[in-house]
Every structure is written in C-alpha cells, then in structure tokens.
C-alpha cells in the first residue's frame, strides 16, 4: 500500500468523461477521506451520476484517474474494485429471496457457507430487515427493497458504498426516515459513503461534505454550513437554500461599503470595495431579511415594499414581498417573533437586513471576496 492510503479513501484525479461530443464530466477532482459521508449534488445532467459510475467502474474516464485506497482502478472491472453500489432502481434479483439476494456477492467470492449465514444475518439486522429474510422482492414495499439493496451491498464490507439517488422513488415521509437511517448506518459501519442526489435538502441533512456540480464542473466542495454561508458563486448560492438577488448601484462608498440611496430614507448598503459606482448584484438569505423586528448590525439596508404572498408553515412564515425597487424577495420569519396578527396580501411593509449579511456576486457569478474584508460590527 502506498503511503497515505487509508481504508476507504477515494481520489478522483482530474477526471474527464466524454460521450462523443458531450463532455459530461470536466476535470473533476475530489478527495474523499476514508469513512466520510460525501455527497455530489447538482441538477440533472451535471455529471454527478457519471462520476459515481466511474468510481464504481461502469464507465471508464476519458482522461484522469480514479484512485481507491492508493490503487489506480480507473480501468478495473466493477466487481474487482472494493466498492459496492446501491442503484436507484434497487436491482434486486426477482427470482431470489432476500437471503439469496444478500448472499449473492459472498457466494461469488466463495465465502464458506457458515460465514455467509452469519454475515447475511448481520447485514439484515443492520438495515432492520431480519424478519423478512425469506420474502421475494415482489412481496415487499419500495422502502423494504431499498434496505435489502443496502444490505446486499454492505454485506461485502466494501471500502466504500456508492449510492445513486437511492431514495428518489420513496414518498416524502419514508424518504426522511431513510435519510436518518442511512446516517445511522454510516455511523455504525464507518464505511465511506458517496451519495448522489439532486435534492439539496437531502444532501445537507446527511453529508459531512458536499460537492456541488454544474454541467460537468465541480463548483465547490465544502461542508453544508460553508456552502450555505460562504457560497463560491451565484450558482451555489442559488442552488443551496433560497436566495434573494438585489441589484445595487452605489452612489457613494464609505468604509468599504457601497451605498445606494433610495426615496424616503431607504437605502441599500453592501460591502463592495469595487470602486467606481458599477452596478453589482448581492445575494441575501431569506432569514437575514427582517420584516417584523430589527436586524443586528451597524449598517442596515432598508427598503419599503408590498406583501405579495403569505405562506404560513407552522414554525415559520414565508413572506413574498415586492420591493419598491422592483425586485421580489422571500423573507423567512419565525412565528415566535410575531406579535399580533399575520400580515395580509397588499400590506405595506419595511424590509431590513444587515449590510454584511449579503454576498456580492460579480459579473462571472463569483462571490466577491471583498465581503470578508468588510468592516466588522
């Protein structure tokens, strides 16, 4: 084993995959330490599934290498890499029972009979399917089939488990349950999990780190919190959580803040050391905008607007507001903070937010680093 190889470590090294003219994956580089729950997140066609399949061995990279536990496996057959995949369509063998399905991989490796029995039972216990060991796939629900597929992969004790949008076919409640189940199983087994999804909430729930991809290019790799609070560009900011885009044309600059003055004492401020009153866009998270209460911070942007929609969600309310600048923003307010009745559609309202809760997006969509150099409170 070469130096630095730990159990379950995966390195995707400058991998490119082309299908004819289409470049599905473009110089993707990922380093996944052993035992991590790592997700690849992005819209359809972003290359996340193709990358996963290259790690699994179902596709060969056009350029670049896949390195598993220190070994270059770019062209090795799927069955000969120490990884197992859980497919979106489960792929359970319909003519075999749960036991036989789970034992399949072990039988091929000529594991002794007695050991097979033990390991299959253990795997089924881990996914809590031990009661249904003699059922056929057609006699089980989607969620149960999903767990069996998981057990079938885990029983081989792979260095890494690859999951291709496994929860897509389940209903919402079951999906949320399974998300927590997967987290629990990951913690129990300590196997590296590589998870692909287009659902950002799902990725945020389960992952330790996430790679956000768009059109074959990795946009940012970071922890959920970093992705949300410090997105690398407009795409990531827009993909993770909701974001409001405000256009700012600064009239003046003071202490590294661009200030645009509007009528009636309204103004928009943002950390913008760009120089020369150029127009910039800023992104503000909905929970940073305040409607019933005042934001913290010295410099505060304030804009009047009208309420377009009120969406009551139990613990919080989403307010969709048309600002007098013409932009439509979403504001999240906690219902605990509300004193009095809910606002109604058409009510005039004042929206405020702290100046440095917005991040500036420049022309190419990258977040302006100048924000970090802004005057602290």
């Amino acid at each position: 084993m070469s130096a630095g190889a730990r159990t379950g470590e995966i390195i995707v090294d400058q991998v490119t995959k082309e299908f004819g003219d289409l470049r599905a994956v473009d110089h993707a580089t990922l380093e996944i330490p052993g035992g991590e729950f790592f997700s690849m997140l992005g819209p359809s066609g972003c290359g996340k599934t193709t990358t996963l399949r290259m790690i699994a061995g179902f596709e060969e990279p056009t350029a670049g290498r896949i390195i598993l536990e220190g070994r270059d496996v770019s062209y090795v057959r799927p069955g000969k890499r120490n990884v197992n995949m859980v497919f979106q369509a489960y792929g359970l063998f319909p003519h075999m029972t749960v036991n036989q399905n789970v034992a399949f991989g072990l039988k091929i490796k000529h594991v002794p009979r007695s050991e097979i029995g033990e390991r299959v039972a253990e795997a089924l216990r881990t996914v809590r399917m031990d009661e249904l060991a003699d059922r056929r796939p057609s006699q089980m629900s989607g969620g149960q089939q999903q767990r069996v597929a998981l057990a079938r992969a885990l029983v081989n004790r792979p260095a890494a488990l690859l999951l291709d949008e496994p929860l897509g076919a389940l209903d919402l409640k079951l999906r949320k349950e399974m998300q927590l189940e997967l987290k629990r199983i990951h913690a129990t087994t300590g196997t590296t999990f590589v998870y692909v999804t287009h659902d950002q909430e799902e990725a945020l729930t389960m992952s330790q780190r996430i790679a956000v991809m768009k059109e074959g290019v990795v946009q940012q790799v970071a922890t959920p919190r970093e992705l949300y609070e410090r997105p690398a560009n407009a795409f990531v900011a827009g993909f993770i959580g909701t974001s409001n885009v405000i256009t700012l044309k600064p009239d003046a600059e003071r202490d590294g803040m661009g200030i645009m003055n509007l009528s009636d004492g309204d103004r928009i401020c943002a950390p913008a050391g760009l120089g020369g009153g150029r127009e910039v866009k800023i992104i503000v998270r909905p929970e940073r905008m305040r409607v019933w209460g005042d934001p913290d911070g010295e410099r505060v942007s304030r804009v009047h607007g009208t309420i377009a929609e009120v969406i009551y969600l139990g613990s919080m309310t989403q307010l969709i507001i048309d600002l007098k600048t013409g932009e439509r923003v979403t504001v999240h307010e906690l219902n605990d903070d509300l004193k009095g009745a809910l606002p109604e559609i058409g009510d005039p309202v004042l929206v405020q937010w702290a100046a440095d809760s917005g991040f500036v997006i420049d022309d190419v969509g990258a977040v302006n680093v100048a924000r970090d150099a802004a005057t602290p409170e």
């Binding site: 179902f58 792929g91 063998f93 091929i108």
Partner: protein
C-alpha cells in the same frame, strides 16, 4: 314529478338474453375449432380402431394397430432414432438461440428491430425449397465438397454430408431456430438490465451472469420454445425424406408411409394418436416446469 327509473334487469327475457351473450360470442370460434380440429380428431380415433387392408376396405373393431406399434421392433428402432435426432436438434437450437436472443435483447441497440424482422422473415421461404437448397450444399457434387476439394483439404468428396443422420440433424437444427429464439427473446426482454449491473457490481463474471440470472429468468421462454419446436421436430417428415435417405427414417415418415403408401389408415391413425399423446405429455410437463419460477 321525476319518473321512476326501471332497472333493465326487470324484464326476464332481457335478463336471459344478456346471460347468453358470452355464449354467442364464443360460438363462432368454438364452431371453427369443432369443425377443423375436434371432428378430424374423432375421425382419427375411430379409424385407429379399424382394420384397413391395402384395398382400403374396413372391417371390424380391433386393437391390432396399437399392439403392432408397441411390439414390432421396427417401430422401436424408428422411435429411438427419432428421439435421438429430434432431441439433438432441439439442444443445438437452444445453444444457438440463447446467445442470439441475448444479443438481440440487450446488445443490438438500434439493430434490435431489424434483426427481429430478419428472424421472422427467415421463415417466409418455402420449407421444401429451403431443404432442397441444403441438398445442393451437402451433396457429393455440392458446394461444400467442391470448396473443400478446391482448397485441397480432401481428395474424395465427403459421403456423410448428405443422406445421413448428420444431414437430418443439421437441417432440423436450422429449420426452427427463429421459433426457438423468439419466445426466449421475449422472456429476456422482461429482464431489467439493472440486474446485470447489480450482478457485475457484486463480482459476477460472464458465466455466473448466465447461470444465476439469464437462464433462470429466461426459463419460461425456454420451455415455451421447447413446446413450440420440439413437436414439429418430432413429427417432421419432409426433412428426413429429402435429406435423410434410407438411413434416417423418422416417425413422421412412418405415418406418411402408412397413410399414403401402404394404405394402412388404421395404423397411421394409431401412430398419429400415440405421437399426439406423447407430445401432449411433454407439453404439459414443460408448461409446469416453466411456471416453477413463479411459485409462491
């Protein structure tokens, strides 16, 4: 005032007429089956118990026809040959059809439909013409012998290519490959391709893939193919007649001879019924085996 609705079923005559409707629908197909199938079968059964002489006259009830079939050693020999040749041809067809169906079902891409079409068109050619073409290929002065002599592989033309058991099995094996392949193809299409990826991921090689996934899941199709093809193989008389010569005589030929040459309609009918019975048993067994997959 709203008029009371009267259910149509009140009227007894109408009720009766409605109950008889399924019967009328079945009448025409049942009538066809009766006329074309059941009636000749009954005639055959009656004939088999009659004694026919060479002058085509009948006389009283007899079990002789059946007795001769089971005691005469000639029939036993022919039966043995027939079983051997038909079974060998069936196995060869399966060996050809399985990879062929697999290829068309999973690997053909946009050639899938054209290939299927080709498979069906193969049978459009008149079988007699096709079998005759084999004679031209296999004969002493046929194309194969000419070619082998021309490239210097042999000095004298090969005798065993035509008018032997070899030629019968060869021609039988190629006659119904498309009917063998089609049901197998159909059952393979029902296999989700995800299963192959899942199996590969778990370490299955080609052999394991076939043994544990393809064959078990295509089994219904394989048995249907057997039911469809084994019977014509067994009762064929054109093939052994044209390319079999004197050494390969099959039960189909026996029936033809009994009916057409000897005029022993009783014997011919009896043999036909025995063959029918044997085929029925094989079909039923194969049918139940094909449903093994779906038990519980």
């Amino acid at each position: 005032m709203v008029e009371l609705a009267v259910p149509r079923s009140r009227n007894l005559a109408a009720r009766l007429a409605r109950k008889m409707r399924p019967f009328w629908f079945l009448c025409s197909p049942m009538g066809v089956i009766c006329a074309l199938f059941v009636t000749p079968l009954i005639i055959l059964v009656v004939m088999s118990f009659q004694h026919y002489s060479i002058y085509n006259t009948q006389s009283g009830f007899t079990l002789d026809n059946f007795r001769v079939l089971f005691t005469d050693p000639i029939y036993r020999g022919v039966a043995k040959d027939t079983i051997m040749m038909a079974t060998t041809a069936m196995v060869i067809q399966l060996v050809i059809a399985l990879p062929l169906s697999y290829f068309i079902a999973f690997r053909a891409g946009r050639w899938e439909l054209p290939l299927l079409l080709l498979l069906v068109l193969v049978d459009e050619l008149n079988p007699i013409v096709r079998i005759y073409a084999w004679r031209m290929l296999l004969g002493r002065e046929g194309i194969i012998n000419d070619f082998l002599g021309w490239i210097g592989l042999i000095d004298h033309p090969l005798d065993w290519l035509l008018f032997t058991k070899f030629s019968v099995i060869l021609v039988l094996s190629t006659s119904w490959v498309n009917y063998t392949a089609l049901p197998i193809y159909a059952s393979m299409k029902a296999i989700s391709p995800h299963l192959f990826e899942a199996a590969a991921d778990l370490g299955a090689g080609v052999f394991t893939r076939w043994r544990r996934i393809v064959i078990p899941l295509a089994a219904p199709g394989i048995f249907i193919a057997i039911i469809l093809v084994y019977i014509p193989l067994f009762t064929d008389f054109a093939t052994p007649g044209l390319v079999g010569g004197t050494s390969s005589y099959m039960l189909g030929n026996s029936v033809a001879d009994l009916m057409l040459t000897t005029g022993d309609w009783g014997g011919g009918a009896a043999l036909s019924l025995v063959l029918l019975g044997a085929m029925a048993i094989i079909s039923v067994v194969a049918y139940f085996l094909s449903r093994l997959n779906q038990l519980d």
